[in-house]
């Protein structure tokens, strides 16, 4: 290996906010007081919050130093499986910051909000086209919120048929948000195992599906990075019992322009704009989780909805069967602006190309690392591949140790210990925005880590060494929680 990506640099210590500051400092320029004083009644007035007073440079240095303890996609490769940490284009940030788009009040008359309404109307159409569905709601704020919205739609659908059902079929490879969302709607999750190929079999579904099945939640491609090859047959079977098919679209990045879920039996699916459509994850949000549906679920979509009337856009509340609202206003509009900018910048050919290259990158990593790491499902993968620590465990080196050691080499670790069906899982999703050289560097780093695991496991147990802190005591953190200072 030439020169390691990971190195040591000077990081500065920085205390907590309230360990700094002095009464009387300020970091804020208050507008002038041009009115008199109107004291509030004594019994209503409080003391004011006990915040530290800081000058502007105190605040600037504080957050600049903190930011340097973080690692982002802009820093380096972030192959976190199932999270699609692709490059977040800077022009999208600029567009979301335009005065009209960042400053609009949500309750203005429609005549004063045409730009925002048009953007939402068009984005809904584009997402419906990409997924092969008929209608879209942009209201859900994140993927799990989209899951919940999807479950609410399924619930409302069965209610409208006059008979509620009680079960939702969920594969063992599903994200935890799937069962958690289903129970919020009063459904009982029925687990079903994937087969020896890592996918759902028609037989497994036939054993659990019945007239009490409200639907099935399928992640496709699934969290093993494999396409659910039997999806059309499974959808037919669920439909024949009167159930609906929900697709968790977290992994849509594999199949844009290749597969339209609406054409292969899916009734409702959510998307993560903060994965597939390049909007940044922000260290844990804000995201956006639009839900696309086929015609038969459209009447139940959250309201209000944007409609076009003779070239003008208005918000309509005229949906008597709507599930209601899932967010106070229309969704995370600021995130929608970025996804819309991305779709327009890419165009149809480049969106398809992005999926092709995402799949190429994952298969490349899989082929190059499969001798080094155990590959439980040795089949062509989609946008991510899942290894395990089986080989390294013979030297008592676990997935976590390799993950931590990768940090010293300058990479964010892959997703670890998920999906649950693979013991010691290492889930790598490179995304299409990593070049071949970057992938080669990652592959070499992982090989070097695997070699160390054989020759000098202590290097891994002691890792990371180059980060701001060493391994943290998570057990004490949970046993004696200290959640505020």
């Amino acid at each position: 290996m030439k020169e390691l990506l990971g190195t040591k640099g000077l990081l500065l210590n920085e205390p907590l906010l309230w360990e700094k500051g002095k009464k009387g400092r300020r970091g804020f320029s208050l507008p002038p007081r041009d009115v008199g004083s109107f004291p509030v009644e004594k019994e209503l007035a409080g003391e004011g919050p006990d915040f530290p007073d800081l000058s502007e440079i105190d605040v600037v240095r504080h957050y600049t130093r903190l930011s340097q303890w973080n690692f982002g996609v802009d820093t380096g490769m972030y192959p976190l499986g199932s999270c699609t940490m692709k490059y977040n284009p800077k022009t999208n940030e600029k567009q979301a910051g335009l005065p009209g788009l960042s400053g609009g009040h949500p309750l203005l008359p429609a005549s004063l909000s045409q730009g925002g309404l048009r953007l939402m109307f068009e984005l809904e159409k584009h997402l419906a086209e990409i997924t092969g569905m008929d209608a879209t709601t942009l209201q859900p704020a994140a993927g799990a919120h989209g899951d919940l919205t999807g479950m609410l739609l399924i619930h409302a659908f069965h209610k409208s048929k006059g008979a509620q059902r009680s079960k939702i079929i969920i594969p063992d490879t599903a994200h935890g948000t799937n069962p958690a969302s289903a129970v919020l709607c009063g459904y009982k999750p029925v687990p079903v195992s994937s087969n020896e190929k890592g996918i759902l079999s028609v037989e497994a579904i036939s054993q659990v599906v019945d007239e009490d099945t409200a639907g099935i939640m399928i992640t496709n491609p699934n969290t093993l990075g494999l396409f659910e090859e039997n999806i059309t047959e499974i959808a037919r079977m669920v439909h024949s019992k009167g159930g609906l098919v929900y697709c968790d679209g977290a992994n849509l990045n594999a199949v844009m322009g290749v597969v339209k879920m609406g054409e292969i039996g899916v009734d409702v699916m959510h998307l993560n704009l903060h994965k597939t459509f390049s909007t940044p994850h922000g260290g844990g949000g804000p995201g956006s989780g639009p839900v696309c549906v086929k015609n038969h679920l459209e009447p139940f979509l959250p309201a209000p909805r944007v409609v076009e009337e003779g070239g003008r856009y208005v918000l309509s509340e005229d949906y008597p069967e709507s599930v209601g609202k899932v967010l106070a206003f229309y969704g995370n509009f600021g995130v929608m602006v970025k996804a819309y900018s991305y779709i327009l910048s890419m165009g149809p050919e480049n969106l398809k190309k992005a999926s092709q290259l995402a799949v190429l990158n994952a298969n490349y990593v899989k082929e190059k690392l499969k001798g080094t790491l155990h590959l439980p499902y040795d089949r062509p993968c989609m946008h991510e591949c899942v290894f395990s620590d089986k080989y390294q465990m013979t030297n008592k080196v676990a997935t976590l140790d390799m993950a931590k050691r990768l940090m010293d080499y300058g990479f964010h670790p892959p997703t670890v210990y998920f999906p649950l069906v693979v013991h010691g899982a290492i889930m790598v999703e490179p995304t299409e925005t990593e070049s071949m050289e970057d992938l080669d560097q990652f592959i070499e780093a992982f090989k070097a880590v695997a070699k160390e695991a054989q020759e000098d496991p202590d290097l891994l147990y002691e890792a990371p060494r180059n980060c701001k802190v060493r391994r943290l005591d998570e057990t004490t953190a949970a046993r004696k929680p200290c959640l505020a200072g």
């Binding site: 804020f28 730009g115 948000t177 940044p280 844990g284 050919e349 190309k353 998570e474 004490t476």
Partner: protein, 443 residues
């Protein structure tokens, strides 16, 4: 395409390494009948220059300041945001990172969110705050579900002066659960009528907003007493966090759970989102809180560090037994709020809150002086309801053409309040602006 780094040579050599002949062949596991025939019907690609032009056109079709003077709050407030906050928030180490599952590489986000949690507990007088929720409405829905879990009861009483859109979200969340949401009416003074509480049994929570949707400050202490007498939890909601720079905080007045919208704290309105769901509670409810929590701990060398903690409540561990389904939340908005609160400091927060209050009182007094009736007599913070004459709709539309949005008509939300308008004033509205407004509505 500049986001895709692969050259044709790269693609050829990678395909060879993978052992397939072309890009289409990578999809061999996708059955033939699942594949899309034809191309996606989408516009583009646009060059960056073309995109700028298109987006500026859309942006120009939105009414914003300084051209427009918008006297609407109602859950979305225009406050001044310092350049330092926007600039720091743009640092890509914060923006382009994921949820901090690997704490050694995410100490920046983790310490910042720990500080955010702390500042929120201090602002609201509570003991624990979560890392963030989607918005004020979902935070309220989750708070009420949390109260149901904690008390093992089945009904919640919600003030009709909680933001009407928040109540709609609550109803949506509750519809499939079988739990019951009861609405408490309001008194003519503009605060919640608690008289009906006595009749309700099996009550898990009493929820009230303060300042409420009419801007009026509620009697929190008294409501807490009533709720606790019924064995219910007292939930306080809010839409305007700046109010607690001036007013007594809810924690000091008996709140068990406080939830609300933090958009006022340095986050632009962005046509309604993303905002910031704030959720805080007393320590004894810590383990039933929904969502992420950051905790302080030590590393192997004994140095202070931060981690996501109490994850056994969460969906990725507990799956269907989790306290919530939430995963991605609004972390970057929480970071913005922390930067904003740090920039204001305790002193600045107080001054800003006073300025908002006093400007609003000025407009109220001027409107009363001009002969208009303030609908509710209870003290308000930076919003209030005014009754205009029945012919006011024409004036309202005329003012729109002059770039003045004279409040939010309340009739769509409260049919009994025809001709009543909810007006909002923050520090960005000058006395001159207000004098113009009064002059115009009079004429």
């Amino acid at each position: 395409m500049r986001y895709l780094p692969h050259t044709n040579e790269d693609i050829a050599s990678m395909l060879q390494a993978v052992g397939v002949k072309d890009l289409d062949a990578l999809f061999s596991t996708v059955p033939e009948d699942c594949r899309l025939n034809g191309d996606l019907d989408l516009p583009g690609p646009l060059s960056e220059w073309e995109l700028n032009h298109h987006m500026e056109t859309l942006s120009s079709m939105m009414a914003v300041g300084p051209e427009y003077k918008v006297y609407i709050g109602a859950g979305s407030y225009e406050h001044f945001i310092p350049a330092s906050v926007s600039y720091l928030l743009g640092r890509s180490e914060f923006v382009t990172s994921y949820t901090p599952y690997q704490p050694e590489m995410s100490q920046g986000t983790l310490q910042a969110i720990y500080e955010y949690q702390t500042l929120i507990t201090r602002l609201l007088g509570m003991e624990v705050a979560t890392a963030s929720h989607y918005d004020g409405a979902t935070a309220l829905a989750e708070s009420l579900l949390m109260a149901i879990r904690s008390t093992k009861r089945t009904k919640v009483a919600v003030s009709s002066l909680i933001h009407p859109l928040y109540r709609r979200v609550v109803r949506t969340y509750f519809e499939p659960t079988g739990y019951e949401v009861l609405e408490l009416p309001y008194l003519k003074e503009g605060v919640t009528d608690l008289a009906g509480l006595k009749e309700i049994n099996d009550l898990a929570a009493v929820a009230i907003q303060s300042p409420n949707f009419f801007g009026c400050i509620e009697e929190l202490q008294e409501t807490a007493q009533e709720a606790h007498d019924k064995g219910a939890l007292f939930v306080v909601s809010f839409t305007e966090a700046i109010a607690y720079g001036l007013l007594k905080n809810p924690g000091g007045q008996g709140a068990d759970i406080v939830c609300g919208e933090g958009q006022s704290l340095g986050i632009p309105r962005a046509f309604g989102g993303p905002g910031l769901g704030i959720l805080a509670s007393k320590k004894k409810f810590m383990r039933s809180l929904p969502g992420r929590l950051v905790g302080q701990t030590k590393d192997l060398d004994g140095k202070r560090g931060f981690v996501l903690t109490l994850a056994t409540r969460e969906q990725h561990i507990r799956r269907e037994k989790a306290t919530s389904n939430i995963c991605t939340n609004n972390s970057l908005c929480a970071l913005a709020a922390a930067m904003y609160m740090a920039s204001l400091g305790g002193t600045g927060m107080r001054e800003l809150a006073c300025l908002n209050h006093d400007k609003t009182e000025y407009l109220k007094a001027e409107l009363m002086g001009a002969g208009f009736r303030i609908s509710f007599e209870r003290p308000t913070f930076n919003e209030f309801v005014v009754k205009f004459p029945p012919s006011f709709e024409d004036t309202y539309n005329r003012l729109l053409e002059k770039g003045i949005v004279a409040g939010l008509p309340l009739a769509p939300y409260y049919p009994e309040l025809a001709d009543h308008y909810l007006l909002c004033v923050t520090e960005i509205i000058s006395r001159e602006d207000m004098d113009t407004l009064v002059r115009e509505v009079k004429s």
